[in-house]
C-alpha cells in the first residue's frame, strides 16, 4: 500500500474531479431535484457555480482547514453541494442521520466538534438549537429551507442562499484563498467522516481519505462499466456510506447525474419518472415493492391475474437467459443502439404473438383437415399449438411476448425499466424476492460491504449471480478467513482511523492493514464466491455445544412476507426461541380478505389465526433448517409475536434497521424468561417513544406457542 503520493491522473480530490467534469461535461445534467412539481436541473457548470458560491460564503464566515462541518437533511442537491464546498475549504463534511432524535445527534455533534452545522429545514434547526446550550462549539447554523424560520434569532443562524450571495459578493477578495485551499488537497486529506450506525455501543466516526473514496469509486465504476449517461436516484440517508459513494464518489468519477426526490413520500413516483439505470436499495425496499405488487395483483381482474401468473411462472426458468439487458464490456454511451434494440425486442414480442396465432390457425387447419386422426392424437398430447420451432427459440419468443404483456409494464410501474445494474446489500435478501426481480430481466446483484471499507468488499460480476452468495472480492480487495470463520479484508478503501478512538482503530485494523469485518463466512467451493453466515460474535454455541447462528435463522424467517422482523435467542441455552414481528401491510391485507377485524398492530398480532399462520411458517422453517446438519440445533422450539413493532426510536433497531439483539434481550427480559419456563402466556408492559420524543407505555398479554421440531430424537423415544 502506498500511503503517500498522488493519484495517477492528478485527480486526487472531489473538487478536482468536479473541475474535470465541468471541463468535460459542462452542459450535461449533474443534479436534478423535483420541486414545485417539475424536475429542476443543474448542469455540471451550474452546480460548480453554486458549490463555489457556498464555499466562498463559508470562507467569509471564517471556516478553518481541517474542521468538521455537520450536514443534516434529506437528499437535496444543496446538501451535496455543501459537502463538496466544505471539502473545497479544506474542511471535512460529516453527514448525520436526519431522523435521529436530538439526543443521538448531540453525541455526534459533540464528538466531531463541528463549528458549522448545515441543516435541511426547521425541524433539524430545532434539534440543533435544543442541544446547542450543551455543545458550545457550534457557532454557525445554516439552513436550506426557509419556511418557518422567520421568527428565529438570526445572530448565529443563516439562510444558505444568503451565505451564497455573500460568497458571490466577496468573490474577488476570497477567490485566491479558495484556489489555494483546493490546491492543498492531497490523496491523504480526509474526504469525509461518517458515523457508523452502531449495532453495539456509541457510534464511531470513520475517517475516509480522498484515496479511499476515489480509488474505490474508480474501481467500482470500472467494474460495472458505469458511464456518464447513468441516472441514479439519491434517496438513501446521506449519512450512510453507500449514499456518499454513489451520489458523490461514483457520480463525480463517472460524471453521471444525481436525482433527488421531491419528498421522502414521493420516492416511488419519482423513481418511476426518472427510471434510473443504476440503482441501489436495501432488501427491505425490494421486499416492500414485491409485497405491493402481489397485493395489487390480488385485486386485478381475472385476465390480468392469469397472465401475470402464467408469465411469471414461465420467467422463473427463462428470465436469466432471455431477460437480462446486454451486459456492457466497456464504458460506452450506446443511447441510440439501446433504443433500436428495445424497439427490436418489442417488435419481436408482438410479432411472435401474431405469428403464433396466424401460423397455428393456418397450418393447424390444414393438418386437421388432412390427418384428422393423427392430429387429434397430437393435439391431445402436446396442447393446442403446433410446435413449429425448436424449444429455445420458442422460449425466446415467448419471453418477448411476456415482455410486452407483463414484464415491461410491471417494470415500468416499479420504475425499474431502464435498470442496467442494481445492487442490494446490508442484509440477506430472500431467494424468492431476488429471483422475482431477476426473472423480470432486472440485473439485480448482491454486494457485501461496510463503512470501514468505503462500501465495497465483495460484489457479484454480471452473469455470475446467485441469491445465497455475496460475490467475489471487488477489484483491489484482498480477503482472508480466520480460523473462527471471521472474514478479514485489505483494500485501497480501508479507512484511515476511527476519529478520536485509537483503541478501537487498533482492535479493528492491524498494522498490516487487515480489517476484521465482524462477520463469519466462507468461500463457496467451485464458484469462489463468498457466503456470509452471521455476525462472528453472534455465532455461538448452545448448551450442548451445537452451533447457534441466529441471523441465519432470522433471515430465513424474514423471507416470509408475513414476518417483518425476528429475533432468535438460544446462545448457551437448551433450545432456540424467537420473538416475531408481523408485517402489518401483508398480514393486514390478509385479515381484510378473511373478514378479520382489527384496530391496531397489537390486536392483529394477538389474533389466534395469525398465530396459527406464523406457527406454520416456523414449522416449515424448522424442517428446512433440519436439513443442514451443522445448523439443525437452531430449530425454533417456542415463539411469541411481540406486541409492538421494533423501532429505532426505542433503540431496538439501529438507524439502518438492524436488530440490536442484546438491547432487546434486556428490555424484554420477562418475555425471554417466559419463553424458557414453559408458560403459555405472559402479561407485560413496555415503554415506547413516539416520533416527537414523548413516551408512553403498551400493556399486553402475549400467547406463547410451541412449534414442532424435526430430527432430534426425544429422550423418551430413545428409551423406548
Amino acid at each position: 500500500m502506498a500511503p503517500h503520493g498522488a493519484s495517477v491522473d492528478e485527480l486526487c480530490s472531489v473538487p478536482a474531479l468536479l473541475a474535470r467534469n465541468v471541463r468535460l461535461y459542462g452542459d450535461k445534467p449533474a443534479y436534478r431535484e423535483k420541486e414545485f412539481g417539475i424536475w429542476q436541473c443543474w448542469t455540471w457548470a451550474e452546480a460548480n457555480e453554486e458549490i463555489r458560491a457556498i464555499a466562498l460564503g463559508l470562507l467569509a464566515l471564517g471556516i478553518e482547514r481541517g474542521e468538521h462541518v455537520a450536514i443534516i437533511g434529506r437528499n437535496r442537491p444543496a446538501h451535496y453541494w455543501s459537502m463538496v464546498a466544505a471539502q473545497m475549504c479544506g474542511a471535512i463534511p460529516v453527514p448525520l442521520y436526519q431522523d435521529a432524535v436530538a439526543e443521538e445527534m448531540a453525541y455526534v455533534l459533540d464528538h466531531c466538534g463541528a463549528r458549522f452545522v448545515v441543516c435541511g429545514d426547521q425541524e433539524q434547526v430545532d434539534k440543533v438549537i435544543e442541544v446547542q446550550d450543551r455543545i458550545h462549539h457550534i457557532e454557525h447554523v445554516l439552513y436550506n429551507d426557509k419556511r418557518g424560520m422567520r421568527k428565529y434569532d438570526h445572530t448565529q443562524l443563516n439562510w444558505l442562499a444568503d451565505i451564497e450571495a455573500e460568497g458571490r459578493a466577496a468573490r474577488v477578495r476570497l477567490e485566491p484563498e479558495l484556489e489555494a485551499r483546493i490546491a492543498e488537497l492531497t490523496w491523504d486529506s480526509t474526504c469525509v467522516m461518517l458515523y457508523t450506525s452502531g449495532t453495539t455501543g456509541k457510534p464511531k466516526g470513520v475517517v475516509l481519505s480522498n484515496r479511499n473514496i476515489i480509488e474505490t469509486a474508480k474501481a467500482s465504476v470500472a467494474f460495472d462499466h458505469l458511464g456518464q449517461d447513468e441516472e441514479v436516484l439519491a434517496y438513501l440517508p446521506m449519512a450512510w456510506v453507500g449514499d456518499f459513494i454513489f451520489s458523490i464518489g461514483q457520480a463525480m468519477v463517472a460524471g453521471f447525474c444525481v436525482n433527488c426526490p421531491e419528498s421522502p413520500e414521493t420516492m416511488m413516483t419519482d423513481l418511476r419518472e426518472i427510471g434510473p439505470t443504476y440503482f441501489f436499495a436495501p432488501p427491505r425496499i425490494f421486499e416492500t415493492m414485491l409485497t405491493n405488487v402481489m397485493i395489487r395483483m390480488e385485486d386485478a381482474g381475472d385476465l390480468k391475474h392469469a397472465m401475470f401468473k402464467h408469465f411469471m411462472e414461465f420467467a422463473k426458468t427463462t428470465g436469466e437467459t432471455y431477460g437480462m439487458p446486454r451486459y456492457r464490456n466497456k464504458q460506452s454511451k450506446p443511447t441510440l443502439r439501446r433504443r433500436v434494440r428495445w424497439a427490436y425486442r418489442y417488435a419481436m414480442g408482438i410479432g411472435f404473438a401474431v405469428e403464433t396465432i396466424v401460423e397455428n390457425a393456418v397450418r393447424g387447419f390444414f393438418v386437421r383437415l388432412r390427418h384428422p386422426i393423427e392430429a387429434r392424437k397430437y393435439f391431445k398430447a402436446r396442447g393446442p399449438l403446433l410446435n413449429l420451432y425448436p424449444q429455445p427459440l420458442r422460449d425466446y419468443f415467448n419471453y418477448r411476448t411476456g415482455d410486452v404483456l407483463v414484464y415491461g409494464p410491471l417494470k415500468n410501474t416499479l420504475g425499474l425499466s431502464r435498470i442496467r445494474v442494481a445492487y442490494t446489500a446490508g442484509e440477506a435478501i430472500g431467494p424468492e424476492i431476488f429471483d422475482f426481480y431477476r426473472s423480470l430481466g432486472i440485473n439485480l446483484k448482491q454486494l457485501y460491504g461496510q463503512t470501514e471499507a468505503s462500501v465495497f468488499i465483495t460484489q457479484q460480476p454480471d452473469g455470475e449471480v446467485r441469491s445465497d452468495t455475496v460475490g467475489v472480492p471487488s477489484p483491489g480487495v484482498e480477503l482472508k478467513i480466520a480460523e473462527n470463520g471471521e472474514v478479514f479484508y485489505r483494500s485501497p478503501g480501508t479507512f484511515v482511523e476511527y476519529y478520536k478512538n485509537a483503541e478501537s482503530t487498533a482492535s479493528t485494523k492491524d498494522p498490516e492493514g487487515w480489517v476484521a469485518t465482524g462477520d463469519a463466512g466462507f468461500f463457496d467451493e467451485g464458484t469462489g464466491h463468498l457466503r456470509i453466515i452471521d455476525r462472528a460474535k453472534d455465532v455461538g454455541k448452545m448448551a450442548d455445544g451445537r452451533l447457534f447462528a441466529p441471523k441465519y435463522v432470522e433471515n430465513k424467517l424474514k423471507f416470509y412476507p408475513d414476518i417483518l422482523e425476528a429475533v432468535v435467542f438460544g446462545a448457551g441455552r437448551e433450545m432456540c426461541t424467537a420473538f416475531i414481528n408481523i408485517d402489518l401491510t401483508a398480514v393486514g391485507n390478509w385479515a381484510e380478505r378473511n373478514n378479520i377485524a382489527y384496530a391496531s398492530y397489537q390486536e392483529l398480532a394477538s389474533h389466534p389465526r395469525v398465530l396459527d399462520t406464523i406457527q406454520a411458517h416456523v414449522e416449515e422453517l424448522n424442517r428446512s433448517v433440519a436439513e443442514d446438519p451443522m445448523l439443525s440445533g437452531c430449530q425454533i422450539h417456542r415463539f411469541l409475536i411481540l406486541h409492538k413493532e421494533l423501532d429505532a426510536d426505542d433503540g431496538e433497531l439501529t438507524r439502518t434497521r438492524k436488530v440490536r439483539r442484546n438491547i432487546i434481550a434486556e428490555k424484554f427480559d420477562d418475555l425471554v424468561t417466559a419463553l424458557y419456563d414453559g408458560s403459555d402466556s405472559i402479561y407485560t408492559e413496555t415503554e415506547v417513544t413516539y416520533e416527537d420524543g414523548r413516551k408512553g407505555s403498551i400493556k399486553a398479554t402475549l400467547q406463547i406457542r410451541d412449534a414442532k421440531v424435526v430430527g432430534r430424537p426425544q429422550a423418551g423415544q430413545v428409551a423406548a
Binding site: E35, F36, G37, I38, R147, G148, R150, K151, E262, S263, E265, T266, T269, E691, D692
Partner: protein, 273 residues
C-alpha cells in the same frame, strides 16, 4: 375607522400587528324568533390570528358566516377596510379577498388534490370560456402561472405525494389540509378557518397548528379561526373573542381571557349556591 384603532397593537409575544382590517359593529343576527348573535362588536387587525371560542351553540359559526358575508346581520354593520360593507353575494366576498374552510369538509371528492386547489384560483382567472377551451396563447400562459402558484402551496403544505390522488381517497387529516390549500390558493387577505382541527389526533393537530402559524408568518395572512381545543387556541392566537349564548363574554389576549371569570364559568360551569 377611528384614529385610535389604526395604531399598531403589540401582542403578548412581542409581535406588532397592524391596523384594523374588519370591524364588526353591534351585530345582531336573528332567525325568526331565535337570536343567534346578540349585539356583538369586535375588530380584526391586519396580520393577527384571531380566535373565536365558546361552548356548543354559542353562535361561533354564525359569526363566521357573518364575517364571510354568507349571512347578512339583522342589525349592525360590518366595516371592511374602512368602509361599511354592503350586502353581497358570496362570490363578491371572495373577490374582496376573504377565503374560508368549512367545518365539514367541502371538497370535490372526485377531483385530484391539484385540481381542487386549482379551483381556489378561480377568482383570479381572467380568460374567457372560449379561449380556455382552445387553450392557446393567453389561456395557456395563465394556467401556467396559476399552476406555479398552486405548486408553491402544495410544497408549503407538504402534500406533494398526494398531488394526483383524488381527494375522496384521502384520510380526513389530509383532506383538511387540502381544504386549507384551496383557501390559500385565493391568496386571501382574510382567512376564515372553521374548526380546522376538529376530529384530528394529536399529531395531525400539531401539523395543522404549524401550518396555520406558518401561513400567518410567511404570507402575513390575517386569520380568524374557530376552535374547540383550548390548548391550541391559547397557543396559536394573538387575541381571542369568547362567545356564550350569542353574547360576547370576553375579548383580549389569551392569558387575559383565560383568567376571565365569566369565561371560566361558561366553560367549567358554575355552582349556584
Amino acid at each position: 375607522m377611528t384614529m385610535a384603532s389604526a395604531e399598531p397593537y403589540v401582542t403578548e409575544d412581542g409581535r406588532t400587528i397592524g391596523g384594523v382590517v374588519m370591524e364588526l359593529k353591534n351585530i345582531t343576527l336573528r332567525f325568526g324568533g331565535v337570536v343567534a348573535i346578540k349585539d356583538i362588536s369586535f375588530d380584526i387587525r391586519e396580520g393577527e390570528i384571531r380566535a373565536i371560542i365558546g361552548p356548543n351553540g354559542a353562535g361561533k359559526s354564525s359569526m363566521l358566516n357573518v364575517i364571510s358575508g354568507f349571512y347578512t346581520p339583522t342589525e349592525g354593520e360590518v366595516w371592511f377596510e374602512g368602509k361599511p360593507r354592503p350586502k353581497m353575494r358570496p362570490y363578491q366576498v371572495a373577490q374582496q379577498g376573504i377565503a374560508r374552510t368549512f367545518q365539514n369538509i367541502a371538497l370535490f371528492s372526485g377531483m385530484s388534490t391539484l385540481d381542487n386547489i386549482m379551483t381556489g384560483r378561480i377568482t383570479r382567472m381572467r380568460t374567457g370560456l372560449f379561449s380556455q377551451a382552445l387553450w392557446m396563447g393567453k389561456a395557456e400562459r395563465e394556467e401556467t402561472e396559476h399552476r406555479a402558484a398552486v405548486e408553491k402551496i402544495i410544497d408549503f403544505l407538504e402534500i406533494q405525494h398526494i398531488r394526483k390522488t383524488p381527494v375522496g381517497r384521502l384520510p380526513y387529516g389530509l383532506q383538511k389540509r387540502v381544504e386549507l390549500g384551496r383557501a390559500l390558493a385565493a391568496e386571501p387577505r382574510l382567512l376564515l378557518l372553521d374548526e380546522p382541527m376538529a376530529g384530528m389526533n394529536v399529531e395531525e393537530k400539531e401539523d395543522m397548528s404549524r401550518f396555520i402559524l406558518d401561513v400567518n408568518d410567511e404570507f402575513g395572512t390575517t386569520i380568524v379561526l374557530i376552535e374547540h381545543d383550548m390548548g391550541v387556541v391559547m397557543d396559536l392566537s394573538d387575541r381571542v373573542v369568547v362567545m356564550d349564548y350569542g353574547k360576547k363574554i370576553g375579548d383580549g389576549p389569551p392569558t387575559e381571557v383565560r383568567n376571565n371569570k365569566e369565561v371560566i364559568d361558561a366553560y367549567l360551569g358554575v355552582s349556584h349556591d
